[in-house]
């Protein structure tokens, strides 16, 4: 108890220094938390993927389309209970150089798409209108908010993969079932796309981008994948079927070098936390060399000295870490507000909080290590002789 009191008194001895150190640690912990949040946001798709969905794409690369004719054949594969499909449309919406206009635009099967993706919630009457009207589209809540779109508005997109000017009437705005669902997409009728491309470039008629499969039993996934890919092994368009998780993982691993460098930078931040804290603790314990010698003289053990220095270090690191963590949330929120479409889902994960707390605590321990050893090794006589 006495040691605790002394720790507190010691920490408050140089109020400005303690305050600055806490501030420094808070900022560093916050940037650490923010960076880790970016890393987790990058792979959100992997987390969000459902356990019962699989993706069938062209075996060479997903930029190559698959024949629409595969649909019924895949649906007959044992274990598959629903097949949907989608096609990447892209195109440019408003000014293509502005990043906020860059969000997924896909041609989908209106009948099945929202059934196979139950995490996209669309009111039943909106879904019914969407299914009925050929040139209609559905946008995510975030996109609607960002661009001020409402039901009945016309969205004009300049095609690139599919040339021409495309007008879509918004007939639905979907929201995510939970925070991990992507609310930044736009869907429209694949039939509409196919019809128009038939007139323009007849050779491209009847192709879709990829199939989405729902399987009865997740345990059958590998056998379903084998059965589907076996069917098209020797055809013009071979397929690659994988779980949705693996498919998403493929996208994440494309940017693995960037993710790795973000991770490296987050470790450098730990270094900075450590340096700031160590500096303060080293300074404090050097100033108190004489006091520690006095404490030893009147009978305090090594364990008390360890408690004094380590306690102060942990106290400062703890407070700084807590403030830093508390700051991480508004900063991440502000970032998500500024770039709503940059990462479909941007939130501070529990694992990030735990990691940041561990880092702060670890820094507290390591920073105290060196000064504690030095103080313990200093003999009483030497300590009493010390100046300044």
């Amino acid at each position: 108890m006495f040691v605790l009191k002394l720790v507190l008194k010691n920490a408050l001895r140089h109020k400005l220094r303690t305050f600055l150190t806490i501030l420094g640690i808070a900022i560093a912990v916050m940037s650490f938390g923010f960076l880790r949040t970016i890393v987790t946001a990058w792979s959100y798709g992997v987390e969000a993927s459902a356990a019962n969905r699989m993706i069938t794409r062209h075996s060479v690369s997903f930029i190559f389309p698959l024949p629409y004719a595969y649909r019924d054949q895949i649906a007959r594969v044992p274990g598959v209970n629903l097949v949907s499909y989608a096609n990447w449309f892209q195109g440019s919406y408003k000014d293509p150089a502005d990043f906020k206009n860059f969000f997924p635009r896909m041609a989908v099967d209106p009948e099945t798409y929202f059934e196979i993706y139950p995490e996209f919630v669309l009111p039943p009457e909106q879904l019914a209108t969407f299914k009925r009207e050929r040139n209609s589209c559905v946008v995510g809540q975030k996109i609607a908010r960002e661009h001020g779109l409402k039901i009945g508005d016309v969205m004009t997109i300049e095609g690139d993969i599919y040339p021409g000017r495309w007008d879509f009437v918004i007939r639905g705005i979907y929201r995510g079932k939970d925070a991990s669902a992507d609310e930044t997409q736009m869907f429209f009728h694949w039939n509409y796309l196919d019809e128009r491309i038939k007139e323009l470039q007849p050779t491209r008629e009847g192709f879709i981008g990829w199939y989405v499969l729902r399987v009865q039993n997740p345990a059958e996934m590998s056998s379903v994948a084998r059965a589907v890919d076996q069917m098209y092994l020797n055809s013009r368009a071979g397929t690659k079927t994988e779980t949705e998780k693996e498919f998403q993982q493929g996208f994440v691993s494309m940017s693995s070098a960037i993710i790795r460098s973000l991770e490296v930078v987050s470790f450098i931040i730990i270094g900075i936390i450590l340096l700031v804290l160590a500096n303060t603790i080293v300074m404090a314990s050097r100033e108190r060399t004489k006091e520690f010698a006095v404490l030893k003289t009147i009978g305090f053990d090594s364990i008390h000295i360890i408690g004094l220095i380590g306690g102060e270090s942990l106290l400062i690191a703890g407070i700084g870490g807590l403030i830093g963590l508390a700051l991480t949330f508004p900063v991440a929120g502000a970032f998500a507000g500024m770039f709503p479409t940059f990462f479909p889902v941007f939130k501070v994960e529990v694992i990030t909080v735990l990691l940041a707390a561990t880092v702060a605590a670890l820094a507290g321990v390591i920073a105290a290590l060196f000064p504690t050893i030095r103080t313990l090794r200093t003999s009483i006589a030497e300590g009493l002789r010390a100046i300044g």
């Binding site: 140089h14 150190t21 420094g24 690369s61 494309m254 070098a257 450098i268 500096n279 080293v282």
Partner: protein, 389 residues
């Protein structure tokens, strides 16, 4: 009267451990700051050098990359006959009609999937891009299903030895050589015969077209002619260098913005570190400061002595950080470029402007961290300071 520089230097040395810790903090921030700039720069350099001012690229309007662009054969033939297109000695037009797709290959070691650009070229393409040289093996034969790999592909992906075959499109393609694009984006591409690739991919249309201008000044005239001609008005003509610059913009902006935002935030941490050090320095030397003032140094001299100490600390830290960052020039990374959606290898490139920016950044950290403590030192009362021991 100014306080001698030696005083500043010695007082830094007197508190070696604290000095080293503060310096380390500043050095780490400077290191990250410089590395981010070097990475963005390296990416731009790789892409810009890929293009040449003598060449022009034709794409479909509103197609931001070759991947989504389409040019019909008839239109390509019309463009080829424009008078601004240079003519080769044998009378052929100095132009290459190309097809561009991406395929997936697995990386060595990690099994991560990479998007590899595959480019079908016309025979004229090699002369249009003289920087691309054969490294080993031989060039592919036109009319056969053979391919040549950029050296980065050969180094980083599985099953890419000469003599092996890669399956894509409708065929198996035999690897017959490696090419060296001298640090350009072509190092990360696979090249083959366009007339073999188009049918194999089931695409009867070209993706893009590159031609040599009769002179770099002829660009405006060529652009006007092609974009005004009703038969080719779907197209857009760009200078090759400009085109590749655009292809790197999204990614380099991303690296810069994200990197700098994060660095600036955590530089505040390092600045606070410097401030703590300087406050401690002032507190420890109260008597010294009183003595100097008594000797006749005025407040301004004391202020500048402490400010110089902090600036010195930050500049050395900045230099150490730059030194560490310059070691990064030996590192090359390979990742998906957002602009082209394909794998691109690039390095960290140091430039004089980055050195200057980093040192200025370090200087700002030093001034910001050292100013308040220096003011406190300057405001100390002589008598109180002398008595404080």
């Amino acid at each position: 009267m100014t306080i001698p520089f030696a005083y500043t230097w010695r007082s830094l040395w007197a508190r070696r451990l604290t000095t080293a810790l503060t310096l380390g903090g500043i050095a780490l921030v400077a290191f990250v700051f410089a590395s981010v700039l070097m990475l963005a720069r390296g990416l731009e350099q790789t892409m810009i050098e890929t293009g040449s001012d003598d060449n022009a690229v034709v794409l479909r309007k509103s197609a931001n990359s070759e991947l989504v662009s389409q040019i019909e054969r008839d239109a390509a033939n019309i463009i080829k006959t424009s008078p601004e297109v240079a003519v080769l000695p044998d009378g052929k037009r100095f132009a290459s009609t190309e097809t561009y797709v991406i395929i997936n290959l697995s990386k060595k070691g990690s099994n991560d999937m990479g998007n590899i650009s595959v480019r079908g070229i016309s025979p004229e393409a090699l002369q249009l891009r003289p920087q691309v040289k054969l490294l080993t093996g031989r060039w592919f034969q036109y009319g056969t299903q053979e391919i040549v790999l950029g050296k980065n592909i050969a180094r980083q992906f599985q099953n890419c030895d000469i003599g092996q075959e890669i399956r894509f499109g409708d065929a198996s393609w035999k690897i017959v050589g490696y090419m060296d694009g001298q640090g350009t984006a072509f190092d990360s591409e696979i090249w083959g015969d366009v007339e073999q690739m188009m049918p194999a991919f089931g695409r009867p249309i070209f993706s893009s077209m590159i031609f040599r201008l009769v002179s770099p000044d002829a660009f405006e005239a060529a652009k006007l002619r092609i974009e005004q001609d009703p038969r080719t008005s779907f197209a857009e003509v760009k200078r090759e260098r400009e085109f590749y610059r655009e292809q790197s913009k999204m990614m380099s902006d991303f690296i810069r913005v994200l990197g700098l935002v994060v660095t600036v935030i955590f530089s505040i941490g390092a600045m606070i570190g410097a401030m703590i050090t300087m406050y401690a320095a002032v507190a420890n030397r109260t008597v010294e400061i009183g003595t100097m003032r008594a000797l006749g140094f005025n407040r301004f001299s004391v202020l500048s002595a402490f400010l110089i100490e902090s600036i010195l600390l930050s500049l050395i830290g900045g230099a150490v950080g730059l030194g560490m960052a310059s070691l990064m020039s030996f590192v090359r990374i390979s990742t998906t470029n957002f602009g082209t959606f394909s794998e691109l290898a690039f390095g960290f490139t140091l430039a004089p402007s980055i050195v200057v920016t980093t040192l200025i950044f370090a200087l700002i950290m030093g001034v910001a961290g050292g100013f308040l403590p220096a003011v406190r030192a300057a405001r100390l009362d002589i008598l109180a300071a002398l008595r404080s021991a």
